[in-house]
């Protein structure tokens, strides 16, 4: 176990978020059981007011997940020094596999809680709250993820053993095998570049079409495409985008771009990608809700707005990633 201020901060944060989401679910269960929109009893009014608390809690949970994602990576980066062979956050993550799972789950939780907030937003705009049940069932689905994420995170950090000087000899003999894995980095740059730009040029027109046409199929197609784009982009960041920022042909770390050495370019890079992908995805996810009469208009309006945001996000993301490829003097042999 490493007693590091960043880790403590994460523990406290995860604890709070778990408590908050459990409490929200508990309240949600009661809403699920007793909700009756046709009743004008005081009970119903109480439940109605309770929903405000639940959505506030979830709002905080979502913001926490976004922020803590960065704190997590930042912390990993800051403690890499204490592991043999670790050059950056990737090295720290490799020290113990659970770290990667915690990271993935955190990203999933972020997407889930953002979706919940989006759906909540739609639901709150219809006078009959048609999604109450679906919403709170979704909440019950999200909570285990949040708890699990916190659990993994704690387990990961508790399991970390720093490589320090022991009384008889240095530690380096014990752990020479631990080397930063390079399998992803080994993806062929040229092929990856082609895939990346091809999928971007496919996705953008799709989004634009989805905004202009009312076709349901298009919305789903866009969502699926943006989902694929997310993975392609992540791989591309590791494979070639990162090396253009580092100007080092062998440095593929997806986290170092968050450091001040590289002008914190990782923050706009990742936030535009996440925004772009999330809003395309959610526009597809809410498509079936159009069938609910009281929601049709709101959903359509929201989809237009979301898809527009998504388009902007993805354009910004592609621009930021392309910038150094075009303007930097650094060139890679492909």
């Amino acid at each position: 176990m490493i007693l590091h201020p960043g880790i403590l901060a994460l523990f406290i944060g995860e604890g709070l978020v778990i408590a908050m989401s459990l409490y929200a679910s508990l309240l949600g269960v009661e809403v699920l059981r007793r909700w009756d929109i046709n009743s004008s009893s005081e009970e119903q009014l109480r439940l109605e007011r309770r929903t405000y608390l639940i959505s506030t809690l979830m709002m905080y949970v979502m913001f926490y997940e976004v922020l803590s994602l960065f704190l997590y990576i930042y912390t990993l980066d800051s403690i890499h020094v204490i592991f043999v062979g670790a050059m950056c956050a990737t090295g720290t993550l490799n020290a113990n596999d659970i770290g990667w799972y915690a990271l993935y789950i955190k990203i999933i939780v972020f997407f889930l809680s953002s979706s919940w907030i989006a759906i909540n937003y739609l639901d709150n705009s219809a006078e009959d709250y048609p999604l109450v049940r679906a919403k709170y069932k979704l909440l019950l689905l999200i909570t285990p993820f949040i708890v699990f994420c916190g659990f993994l995170l704690v387990k990961y950090f508790l399991g970390l053993k720093p490589d320090i000087i022991t009384s008889c000899c240095g530690s380096l003999f014990s752990d020479e095998s631990k080397k930063v894995s390079g399998s992803l980095a080994g993806l062929p740059i040229k092929a990856m570049m082609v895939t990346f730009y091809a999928s971007a040029t496919l996705l953008l027109p799709l989004i634009v079409l989805s905004i202009t046409l009312r076709n349901s199929f298009l919305k789903y197609l866009t969502a699926v495409n943006s989902f694929a784009f997310f993975f392609i982009s992540m791989l591309s960041i590791i494979s070639f985008i990162s090396i253009y920022f580092y100007e080092l042909p062998m440095h593929h770390c997806p986290f170092d771009i968050l450091q001040d050495t590289y002008g914190y370019v990782g923050y706009p890079l990742y936030s535009t990608l996440f925004t772009g992908v999330f809003f395309s995805l959610i526009s597809g996810i809410v498509e079936p809700l159009k069938k609910i009469q009281s929601l049709t208009k709101t959903v359509e309006r929201a989809q237009k707005m979301w898809l527009a945001i998504s388009a902007i996000g993805i354009i910004a993301f592609v621009t930021i990633s392309t910038w150094p490829i075009i303007f930097s003097s650094f060139k890679v042999d492909m």
Binding site: S40, S41, E42, L45, E48, N124, E127, Y129
Partner: protein
């Protein structure tokens, strides 16, 4: 405009302090009417006013405002309707101390997305029409009773409501100020606003130009006096 059918309201259902505030009240108020709900305190006037103003949800019955049944609406939407349709004048003025007249009057518009310029113009206009414009930047606790009353009315008018609800508006005013208030309300009525006043003050309900006097006792309407509306004052 407002139609109420078989309304009942029970507070604290199932608790030892359960209280039946009103029972089986039906009422219809048309656009532009000036109505007084009359009765001693505890007769259910305020509750009825609250139900009309979408502040209180009745336990039973139907409330139709501008052809929309609002009883089952969640609070969120009730508030929206309230914001659009009603202006409230309370017994104790209920101005927020420590802030200026302008801020107090603008408060109902804060949670809306109305542009600043529009808001600014409206405050000016409303305060001017109530002749309290010169106090726009004064902190409200420095105002006299009559001025406070006008600010309270201005606040009720800022969202340009169709209907003005007043709860015992003269309770804390002397007879001179009460008369002034009635004059203002009458003018507003003449401008086409529906006005409903809950009061047990003779100054209020002895006026000849009221369209309707609803007398309440023990949560029930016991008498409704209808009058021919008089021509509006000049």
């Amino acid at each position: 405009m407002v139609r109420i059918e078989g309304i009942s309201k029970v507070y604290n259902t199932g608790l030892p302090d359960e209280m039946l505030a009103i029972t089986d009240v039906s009422l219809e108020i048309g656009r532009g009417e000036m109505v007084v709900l009359k009765g001693p305190s505890g007769s259910g006037k305020t509750t009825l006013l609250g139900i009309i103003g979408c502040m209180v949800r009745p336990t039973q019955g139907k409330v139709v405002i501008n052809d929309k049944d609002v009883v089952k609406l969640p609070e969120r939407f009730l508030t929206q309707i309230r914001r659009k349709t009603f202006g409230f004048i309370f017994q104790h003025f209920n101005l927020i101390p420590g802030i200026s007249v302008r801020e107090n009057v603008c408060l109902p518009l804060y949670p809306t997305n109305i542009p600043h310029a529009v808001m600014k113009d409206r405050v000016q206009a409303v305060l001017k029409s109530l002749e309290i414009h010169h106090k726009i930047n004064t902190e409200v606790t420095r105002l006299s009773g009559g001025e406070k009353q006008r600010v309270a009315i201005a606040r009720a008018l800022i969202n340009d409501p169709e209907m003005l609800l007043a709860d015992e508006p003269t309770a804390h005013l002397d007879s001179k100020l009460s008369e002034d208030l009635i004059v203002i309300l009458r003018r507003l009525s003449a401008e086409g606003k529906t006005i409903i006043i809950a009061s047990h003050d003779t100054i209020v309900y002895d006026k000849p130009y009221l369209n309707r006097i609803v007398e309440m006792r023990h949560g029930k309407v016991i008498d409704v006096v209808l009058r021919e509306p008089l021509p509006a004052i000049q």
